[in-house]
């Protein structure tokens, strides 16, 4: 019997398994997908120093390390329930139930849906699905596509699709509705992109990050955006156009786009059809926290961390004895932060069990410091003010 069951073999789960195993714990690591790596598998981008971050290679490194230490990794298993038992936790899976005194939820994130007319046509997918098909399954999702939704995730994946030789016609905003909210307002989108402008090698965005620090300049920039959009990696980005309908008979044949006001309202008479055969919709990410909910963990709603976050502290403990969290379930950040958090969770659990207490304690402190360092240097920040919001969350934990 394992002392620790880790649910999710993405960056956080893999790192945690290594840390806990290093301290001598018996660890079982399970994942729903056919192979370990989680969303790390799909990642490919260039670092500031010009080197490439290749998610598949990073996964291989972590998996090799975990296997060498004797972590039991089982893929293709999904967990459908988690409850407290007299001897700890009962993890219910489609391959029977497992018992363990410690459970780590490293379930990652899922994509927000942005519904719009025509979105059920074959050829419409979330931007994350396009990433998985391209980088993991190596399937070409179409000939020419459009990305709906301008955020850090869609920019990062747009670049990956381009590297895979897919033709992206353009990026536009989603239609204004109750779900898309500020993602459909050019001004809000512009502001959120500027916070990450070091990512986008676009003259306007880079120029912007230096100059467009106040709202009126932002507005001015939006007003004078070139008609053909601004170009990022050679792809036109239209912050003053929105998709209002995906059209096609049996499958995607095009997208009806319309010019929009500064506030996201469509301007009548400007509708046109852009011909594409696939569409990627991007609404951003939210923590995949259902198991924490069924286990009875309290939640906090923090939009800046992606939505509903299971209550936890900096040691990755939840208020439920033996239940830990790490990675995107604790708030949306990049894979490097997830790995760092995974180490924290692994050492934190080891320290709690009393296994190699001194080592675990020392390494836990190092790992906690490391999370902060990495967060500060992170190239990909999905939401603003992550640090401040985390401090708020961890501050709240003390009060329970």
């Amino acid at each position: 019997m394992s002392e620790l069951v880790i649910i999710g073999a993405g960056p956080a789960g893999l790192a945690a398994s290594i840390a806990a195993r290093e301290c001598g714990l018996k660890v079982t690591l399970i994942d729903e997908f056919i192979k370990p790596g989680g969303r790390l598998l799909g990642q490919l981008y260039q670092e500031r120093d010009g080197t490439w971050w290749n998610g598949i290679k990073e996964t291989d490194k972590l998996v090799a390390q975990a296997e060498k230490l004797g972590v039991e990794i089982t893929c293709g298993i999904s967990v459908y329930h988690l409850n407290k038992h007299e001897h700890g936790w009962l993890v219910h899976t489609n391959h029977g139930s497992m018992q363990a005194p410690y459970v780590l939820l490293a379930t990652g994130a899922a994509e927000y849906h942005v519904p719009m007319p025509g979105w059920t046509l074959p050829g419409v997918m979330s931007v994350g699905a396009a990433q998985v098909m391209t980088n993991v399954h190596r399937v070409k999702v179409g000939k020419k596509g459009m990305i709906i939704g301008a955020n850090i995730l869609s920019f990062a994946i747009m670049h990956e699709l381009q590297l895979a030789d897919l033709n992206i016609a353009c990026m536009v905003l989603p239609p204004k509705n109750e779900i898309s909210k500020s993602a459909a307002k050019p001004m809000e989108v512009m502001k959120s992109l500027l916070r990450a402008s070091h990512l986008a090698p676009s003259p306007i965005l880079r120029f912007g990050s230096r100059l467009l620090i106040n709202e009126s300049l932002c507005k001015l920039a939006l007003r004078f955006l070139p008609k053909k959009g601004m170009s990022v990696w050679g792809i036109p980005i239209h912050l003053r156009k929105a998709a209002i309908e995906i059209v096609g008979n049996q499958q995607v044949e095009g997208v009806k786009v319309v010019d929009i006001t500064m506030d996201g309202e469509p301007i009548k008479g400007t509708e046109e059809i852009v011909q594409v055969d696939f569409v990627c919709i991007s609404g951003g990410l939210y923590p995949l926290a259902e198991l924490a909910a069924v286990a009875g963990c309290p939640f906090h709603y923090i939009p800046e961390l992606g939505g509903h976050i299971p209550q936890h502290n900096e040691r990755m403990e939840t208020p439920l004895k033996g239940l830990y969290v790490a990675g995107n379930i604790t708030g949306i950040e990049g894979a490097k932060v997830a790995i760092a958090q995974g180490f924290v969770a692994g050492y934190s659990i080891a320290e709690h069990t009393g296994a190699s207490r001194e080592t675990a304690k020392r390494k836990l402190e190092e790992a906690m410091k490391n999370v902060k360092d990495i967060r500060e240097k992170a190239i990909i920040q999905f939401y603003p003010n992550v640090k401040e919001n985390r401090d708020k969350l961890y501050g709240a934990y003390q009060c329970i």
Binding site: Y80, H81, N83, H92, V294
Partner: protein, 394 residues
């Protein structure tokens, strides 16, 4: 802003929404006070049937039939589509004894003029290739229909709004008093409301509202679980229940294993419009608890696989649990309360809230207008029936 209305409805579930629709259609000024969001209680933790097949022949099934007709009209009348379909429904039998009981059931329903008929083994095969081979037969009710309960609630509430109704969500009622002028004063988390008439449509919370006026209402929460499963292949086009469901519903003895008996588990299969499907059901008295109990879910799943063996390979999307507002004679209370003139109760529909919402809305409208003649007789639904029968108020 003045918050004074002819009629105030407490509860924005399917029942409150239906009442709001019919009453505002009659031209009265209406407000709905809902402590959370619309359809956030039992109405979003249920399935979506307008059934006669599981009703006691006689008054119960006649009431369902009347509601079915109204829902059919509403599907044309309301602006918003609510996935209304009327494909009929069936009950399946696993033993000879059940077949004999089913035949009696059909005979009684037919006598009452309802479109029922027996099904033999080959009919069952025809119905779905996924059924277990040993099922003996069953019965069918032709007019039974299905809706999306959530959309139905919202379609009614939107319809009511269009006719001028005001809907106040996140408005919790703290107290109700009758003033000397005969009007009701309602203190809420969103301030004071006044009304000439008040309808208590608070479902499982109806007893708490009743208590504010010293009116004991004998409704208890009866928990039920549902599994939502994902379409792989079309399993069936119609609602299916096991005959044992009737026995479970009316509290009879079944020959099943102890957990199935303990949790009141009986098969209910309901395809949604998108061909995903809902699997039920369970019945327990465990207070106001809506936490999903995995043991009950497993028991429901086992029961489903007994009738549809191949379902074992299909994917589950999610599970949920809700609370049915139960009364001891399985009939809702749709009634004026004579002790407090102007106060009405429309609650206690147990598992029939979706089925009977339309007729409930219509009846409350007729009661408020003090019509001498109602669409169906209301005697069996009166509040004072519990006193007449000497039932102790809980």
């Amino acid at each position: 802003m003045k918050k004074n209305f002819d009629v105030i409805i407490i509860g924005g579930g399917i029942i409150g929404s239906a009442i709001a629709y019919y009453v505002s259609k009659s031209g009265m000024s209406v407000a709905v006070l809902e402590k959370n969001e619309l359809a956030s209680g039992t109405s979003s933790r249920c399935d979506g049937n307008i059934l006669a097949i599981d009703k006691d022949p006689g008054f119960d099934s006649q009431m369902s039939l009347a509601s079915q007709k109204l829902v059919n009209e509403l599907s044309k009348e309301l602006e918003h589509h609510f996935e209304y379909r009327a494909p009929g429904s069936i009950l399946v039998c696993e033993t000879e004894e059940e077949m004999i009981a089913a035949e009696k059931w059909v005979a009684r329903q037919k006598e009452a003029g309802l479109p029922f008929k027996m099904l033999d083994r080959s009919d069952i095969r025809q119905e779905s290739p996924f059924f277990a081979d040993d099922l003996l037969g069953g019965l069918e009710c032709e007019t039974d229909s299905t809706v999306n309960p959530y959309l139905f609630s919202f379609a009614l509430a939107e319809g009511a709004k269009k006719k001028g109704a005001n809907i106040y969500t996140h408005t919790e009622v703290h107290s109700i008093k009758k003033s000397t002028t005969g009007d009701f004063k309602i203190e809420t988390s969103s301030g004071l409301f006044t009304a000439k008439k008040v309808v208590n449509a608070a479902g499982i919370w109806a007893p708490m509202i009743g208590k504010m006026l010293d009116i004991p209402i004998p409704i208890k929460p009866r928990k039920g679980h549902i599994i939502v499963a994902s379409r792989q292949q079309p399993v069936g086009l119609r609602k299916v229940m096991e005959f044992g469901y009737l026995i479970s519903k009316f509290g009879g003895q079944r020959k099943v294993d102890p957990p199935t008996e303990k949790y009141g588990v009986a098969l209910v299969f309901e395809p949604t419009e998108s061909q995903n499907f809902l699997i039920g059901s369970s019945r327990e008295f465990v207070g106001m608890n809506t936490t999903v109990n995995i043991d009950v879910i497993k028991c429901i799943a086992r029961r489903a696989i007994r009738f549809y063996p191949k379902m074992a390979d299909m994917l589950v999307i999610r599970t949920y649990a809700g609370l049915r507002p139960w009364t001891n004679d399985h009939l809702p209370i749709i009634s004026h309360v004579d002790e407090v003139p102007g106060f009405y109760i429309a609650a206690g529909h147990e598992g029939d809230g979706i089925s009977l919402a339309a007729i409930t809305g219509k009846l409350i409208d007729e009661l408020i207008k003090e019509k001498s003649h109602t669409t169906i007789p209301i005697e069996p639904l009166r509040y004072d029936r519990f006193k007449v029968k000497g039932v102790v108020h809980s």
